[in-house]
Symmetry: C2
Subunit: 308 residues, 2 copies
């Protein structure tokens, strides 16, 4: 099976999207962008053994690389539309490719995203990049830089599950709730769309809440107070590791792909309320103060950074 | 140096393109597409040791990954506009990164392409992917599938230089004409733009003329006669390897990134003529016949295919 046959067999599913003029199979794809909109574009790479355990199912690898790109689109407030795939394989295992493609199309299909093109190469290590584009109304993109003193800080979903879930793989468990939260993050596309043009700042929590919030604060020239006792923790996480470790995961663990955003409280879109939690506020003075009830708690910036 | 510092230092050059609303440094970039145009999107990966010699200069690696994406945009007839970068590094060597970024911006700058975003990761092997987008007038994209019997087949530039040039690296020579033709392919963007809406079919010669022309013939349901004695060969190539080997490289070697296109002869755009050569014609019956003067010459499909 050469690379052309591989692309034909696994990555050429038909799409009837009106936003796609021509897809996989030529030198490039031709897209028809919605009129009068801005585009948002993102790209994310996963390296086997660095970003996910080498034992992870191919189907989950395919799902996850799409989900983390959807998450970036969501953090910008965009509607995801098209994606391209750069896949570097050690070998062309057909069963693996079939599963990988199934997961990839599954995640893309949840939001109607079209695989428009790609490139398949051979290397010494599995490296998967997806580039995704979407659209939004001009001027409504969400940036890290707009947080203002007085804003309430919110997060979607629960935090810390993915960090604990990653640990589950090392224990040989890949199917329980926490492991699934790592392998199949929930991209908060609907929340991002509801917040476009409304939230002052947004980021997706990929490196850890403290590290990612710090990026918002630096870009916005502001500080924050975090109410640690308000951090949303799943019952599964609490049961598995207890409150103290759960908070460590929630603050310092990465890979949750929840949205963290700031908004003047009265502007919070009504429909978004059930899945978001207020966890603190933006303050004028730089720095991050974490409070657990009445006491200030110390913390480390334990966000994950390559090359450090 | 962590990944954020790395991106700030090497990949955050300012752009004043009116087509870029927000670039590197957030969860995604925001683009302002030209009104009333279709978009073309491509992605290409280079793996060290597979797609280029590991001894190749970082500056040439950066130049080449952009040039081969420009070539795909050209083959579609588009105007290149924006690109994103997925860079998997073995380590974060500052001198290497500085050179790589210099070559990357150099190639992009030749066509005013903006680096809009990227992702930098750590792996066991250097893997570089660039995704590029451009735009074109609706309905003018060039495909592989439109060749018609009676069309003349043209190529831009000269063929076979890159295949011989790749061999030069193995001999420890990376600076002569042929080696430069491998390391710094000339993306035929102007030719592609001139042909948009005019040529019946187009492809860029990355896997070798015979292999790439075969893709056009298959997609178009047609055949071709190739006049081997008309293939454009550089004097440097002829001097280096002689005519027989030069023809082998021209027909079977890859990496030239010249455009091969078919057009009814009267429609050839006037300005394009000096840099293109007529090399054959499309015929109704499937298959490819190669003629060298009056004799039919045998050939192999020696195009490069991963995983074969």
């Amino acid at each position: 099976m050469d690379e052309f046959e591989l692309i034909r067999r696994f990555f050429s599913r038909h799409s009837d999207s009106p936003l796609l003029v021509a897809g996989v199979g030529d030198d490039g794809a031709v897209l028809r962008p919605p009129a009068g909109r801005e585009l948002v574009t993102v790209i994310d790479t996963m390296v086997a053994g660095t970003h996910f355990p080498t034992c992870m199912d191919a189907r989950d690898i395919g799902y996850r690389i799409v989900a983390i790109n959807l998450s970036d689109i969501a953090a910008m407030g965009g509607i995801p539309r098209w994606m391209t795939l750069a896949l570097t394989l050690v070998d062309a295992d057909e069963a693996w490719l079939d599963e990988f493609a199934t997961g990839l199309y599954e995640a893309a299909g949840e939001w109607g995203v079209v695989l428009a093109g790609g490139d398949t190469t051979k290397g010494e290590q599995l490296v998967v990049s997806v580039q995704m584009s979407g659209d939004l109304a001009p001027g409504t993109a969400l940036y890290r830089s707009g947080a203002k003193a007085g804003d309430t800080i919110y997060v979607t979903g629960t935090l810390g599950d993915a960090a604990a879930g990653l640990g589950r793989f090392a224990e040989g468990e890949s199917r329980d709730y926490l492991a699934r939260r790592f392998a199949r993050p929930t991209a908060r596309v609907a929340a991002g769309r509801a917040l476009a043009g409304i939230a002052h700042a947004a980021i997706d929590v990929s490196d850890g809440l403290v590290a990612d919030l710090a990026k918002v604060l630096e870009a916005s020239g502001a500080g924050a107070e975090l109410d640690v006792h308000r951090l949303p923790l799943s019952q599964e996480l609490l049961d598995a590791v207890g409150r103290e470790q759960a908070l460590q995961h929630a603050m310092g663990g990465g890979d949750d792909y929840e949205l963290c955003f700031t908004v003047p409280a009265p502007l919070l879109p009504a429909g978004i309320a059930p899945e978001v939690t207020a966890i603190g506020r933006i303050v004028p003075d730089a720095g991050l103060v974490c409070r657990d009830g009445d006491s200030v708690v110390p913390f480390d910036d334990t966000g994950y950074r390559h090359f450090r």
